[in-house]
């Protein structure tokens, strides 16, 4: 066992970092696209159905097929990491988009009404009222997206993008379960850690609503 780690330990660490980079970059892009898009949908609700539908369809494409579709595209196909990041971003869109939209829509309408009536500008309404009140929803979306993407990123190795999937694919090809586990266990741990960390932030952002009357 120690022999296995001395042989593969460095590689596992390297691939874990690569895995983190692929997922992290995709999450960043997805958040940059989906949060503003979700906000925009709350202001133009007529678009909500088609846009959420589109994101839903993206979500249903099997991941291996998605990587395959992107492979022949110019510029994207040149580097495997680009393909992986674009595909992962596409998968991360829906949860973030949907939760941003629902989170803002779920705010007590009387709160938004008063904020407008007191003369807050659209921007002030967004940053002082809507985003803070929707924050725990948006973070829940980010959390779902992250956990999904950590899993899907293992398949990116199929197009040569690296990450922990590489160990899994190699292990499968050479019928070496140790290698499969060396890829799968760190990937699972990454997902769990990301889930727990984002869960903590989410709880911290939650707005108290319990009605406890003081004497």
């Amino acid at each position: 066992m120690s022999e296995f780690f001395s042989q593969f330990g460095g590689e596992i660490a390297e691939l874990t970092l690569e895995h983190l980079w692929l997922t992290g970059a995709a999450m960043l892009f997805a958040a940059l696209i989906a949060i503003p898009a979700g906000i925009w949908l709350t202001r133009s609700p007529a678009w909500a159905k088609p846009v959420l539908g589109l994101a839903n369809i993206l979500q249903t494409i099997p991941s291996l097929a998605m990587f395959g579709f992107l492979l022949p595209l110019p510029w994207l196909g040149d580097r495997a990491a680009r393909i992986a990041i674009v595909a992962l971003t596409a998968y991360a869109l829906l949860p973030i988009l949907r939760n941003t939209y629902t989170g803002i829509r779920a705010i007590d309408p009387s709160v938004v009404e008063v904020a407008r009536a007191l003369g807050l500008t659209d921007w002030q309404l967004l940053v002082k009222v809507q985003l803070p009140l929707a924050a725990s929803f948006i973070l829940a979306g980010l959390r779902t997206a992250t956990v999904t993407c950590v899993g899907i990123a293992t398949i990116a190795a199929a197009v040569g993008a690296g990450g922990l999937g590489e160990l899994i694919f190699r292990g499968v090809a050479s019928v070496d379960n140790r290698l499969v586990l060396a890829g799968a266990v760190p990937a699972a741990l990454l997902a769990l850690v990301a889930d727990a960390a984002l869960g903590l932030i989410e709880r911290w952002c939650k707005v108290p609503t319990a009605r406890v009357a003081h004497p």
């Binding site: 007590d108 009387s110 709160v111 938004v112 009404e113 008063v114 904020a115 407008r116 009536a117 007191l118 003369g119 807050l120 500008t121 002030q124 002082k128 009222v129 803070p132 009140l133 707005v207 108290p208 609503t209 319990a210 009605r211 406890v212 009357a213 003081h214």
Partner: protein, 258 residues
């Protein structure tokens, strides 16, 4: 006395049907500066709709609303709203801000320094009968219904508006708390000389607080009278409104049970 708010032939129609349903039907009404006007009427008679045209939460389909002599149709929306206080039954307090920040939010939106905001919000809390020492740091969910309404009122007064719109502010409170709030409001209005437009379902509240009583029915203005004239009126709509109000009291008196 000068005119704080003037409604000129104001109509409002929903766009549900081609003709729309008329929620307001040619309302003309003047609110004198420093007075309180109560709007009565059954649900759906257009009370809230009328109130919401003053700060342009709704734009009238026809007619004009003038605030301090100026037609608000072309006015700067943000400036207009910051000059008009707004209090509603649900309070709409910001659940993620403590009381102090809730009260000071309009000042925050105007870019006033933090120290000034805090001083002003403590001052206002005292004005509405809440001791800033324990209450400034509390959150809305830690307050009782009456306390929440007081905070909502303090917030509405923060930017020193000349006009205050109140939509059934005490409608959700128990009768005793409501009476306390009415006392507080009456004292406050006598001191601050605001022009108040108050929507209410409570005839007693209207008689207690208002200088003028307006009765709406199906979007039309039925009456605009001083409280004394209102109770003495022989106008059938007013008589039936007042009668509907005190039925319980009448049926419980000994003569009625015989």
């Amino acid at each position: 006395m000068s005119q704080a708010v003037e409604f000129r032939n104001v109509s409002f129609a929903t766009s549900v049907t081609p003709q729309g349903r008329l929620l307001l039907d040619g309302i003309s009404l003047t609110l004198e500066e420093g007075t309180t006007t109560a709007i009565l009427g059954r649900s759906g008679s257009g009370k809230t709709t009328l109130l919401r045209t003053v700060n342009r939460m709704l734009e009238p389909t026809n007619g004009d609303v003038l605030v301090r002599g100026e037609n608000i149709r072309g006015a700067n929306l943000i400036q207009l709203r910051r000059g008009i206080g707004y209090v509603i039954q649900e309070t709409g307090l910001f659940p993620h801000f403590n009381v102090e920040r809730n009260v000071g939010l309009v000042l925050e939106a105007q870019g006033q320094p933090r120290a000034d905001r805090i001083r002003r919000s403590h001052e206002l809390l005292a004005t509405v009968g809440l001791d800033p020492a324990p209450f400034a740091q509390r959150f809305p969910h830690q307050l009782s219904g009456g306390q929440r309404q007081r905070v909502g009122l303090a917030r509405a007064l923060a930017a020193e508006p000349k006009i205050l719109l109140m939509d059934e502010p005490f409608g959700a409170l128990d009768p005793l708390t409501r009476a306390e709030m009415q006392d507080m409001l009456r004292d406050l209005m006598a001191r601050l000389k605001k022009t108040v437009l108050l929507v209410t379902h409570d005839l007693d509240e209207a008689l207690f607080l208002a200088h003028r009583i307006v009765l709406l029915d199906q979007g039309k203005l039925i009456a605009n009278l001083a409280p004394r004239e209102f109770v003495a009126s022989r106008q059938p709509e007013i008589v039936s409104y007042i009668q509907a109000f005190h039925r319980g009291e009448r049926s419980a008196t000994p003569e009625a049970t015989k």
